[in-house]
Symmetry: C2
Subunit: 245 residues, 2 copies
């Protein structure tokens, strides 16, 4: 492979300079650039293997640029940003970026990422994980998937164990739908299962539901949210509103 050609897009001349210099020193050809127009002209005029795109570009927005580029380009794009907030990161992935790095970054990390993305681009493309960021509201309660926080109707934060959280998620994903214990277990990704057909499920789910009730039901004895469907399993008896994170 010839020397990879990287486009370094940043509106701050100093940052741009440091990055290009650093990349040069490490064997890459780095082309500085400060606007979408610049990117387009580079793309039009020659090969570009990877774009390092700053998210904050004065009046332009890196994320939007990324989305627009993706409309007609396959070039790998790494978003660079000072905003380490997760939702920003996510916005990046959803927009088709191949990776995302928070500024200030560890130079080694930058290098590693650049190499990884280039290598990946050569093979095919896979995906970095994507994390659910929505907030769910149900019967006065809310569950913030981003921070894994559950709040009661009065705004009090409730601590759920990991398994309880997993259970809650299953219900939130299937409101008003009666689920059997087997389905719940499967959806929760139960590991300790015998293979194949006839399981002897045990009462693990029952107990877990009980514990969750104890935390998110006003009167656990007379559950309004997590209702039992006798002979079937359990239902979340509430509508769930989903808000984008």
């Amino acid at each position: 492979m010839t020397i990879p050609r990287l486009l370094v897009v940043d509106d701050d001349a100093e940052t741009r300079g440091m990055m290009t210099e650093f990349l040069h020193r490490n064997g890459f050809m780095a082309l500085p650039c400060d606007s979408e127009t610049g990117i387009r002209s580079h793309l039009a005029s020659g090969r570009v293997d990877l774009i390092l795109l700053d998210v904050m570009l004065g009046d332009e927005n890196g994320v939007e640029i990324c989305a627009r580029l993706r409309a007609d380009q396959d070039v790998p794009i790494i978003l660079v940003s000072a905003l380490s907030a997760d939702h920003q990161r996510m916005a990046g992935y959803e927009v088709g970026a191949d990776d995302y790095i928070a500024k200030p970054f560890n130079p080694d990390l930058l290098l590693a990422r650049v190499k990884a993305v280039l290598a990946r681009a050569r093979r095919s493309s896979s995906l970095i994980y994507r994390r659910q960021t929505s907030t769910f509201r149900f019967g006065g309660w809310s569950y913030d998937a981003k921070h894994d926080e559950v709040r009661s109707p009065d705004g009090v934060q409730i601590a759920l164990s990991r398994r309880e959280t997993a259970l809650l998620k299953v219900f939130l994903a299937n409101p008003r739908i009666p689920l059997t214990r087997e389905e719940i277990a499967a959806a929760m990704d139960v590991s300790g299962e015998g293979a194949g057909g006839g399981e002897t499920p045990g009462r693990a789910i029952d107990v877990l539901v009980g514990r969750l009730r104890g935390k998110i039901e006003t009167r656990p004895k007379d559950p309004e949210l997590l209702r039992t469907e006798r002979g079937i399993g359990y239902v979340l008896a509430a509508d769930v509103a989903v808000e984008a994170g």
Copy 2:
């Protein structure tokens, strides 16, 4: 709402009869039917609110029919099958079915599901969970996501804890990509996180990586798979082949 009209598609006349009768008794209008042609003609000639589609239809295949129907129809479809195997279930969802019931089913469960799907269709459409079913191969090892089973190159089955499994999954999803501890934690859905910016991560990830190494590395002291990237984090230093479940 008027009485819901359901299409009961099954090639066995007896089953078809029982189901339609049962549904009738419970206030639905059930229309028996035994082939894709039959479905199409019903769809063409009148309203159909829901299709109960058997997966095993002699020479026809319910899953394929479902996929074809979905190409030009929005009717809710519940797949019914004697094969309770998970991958079948998944094939159902991937093909656009709204739900899936294993035969023999609890009549009450069938009713509940029918009602739920109808209700959901009225609101909008959401999705039941979807479970990953692939098998991953990496450096001689394999991870079967369906059964959560890890096998060594000699075929010996290894037991991983839930958290170890989660960690492994993160690496499998990001082969060859150096991940920081923060990213790993985030991808694993760590709950105990302070909000916002500067975390004090702790060494949990390090220890966890160590434990995983102890299970899937031949020489944990000199790891070949889970390699340390000094100053950065960890990488899975192997390519990952993914096979459909």
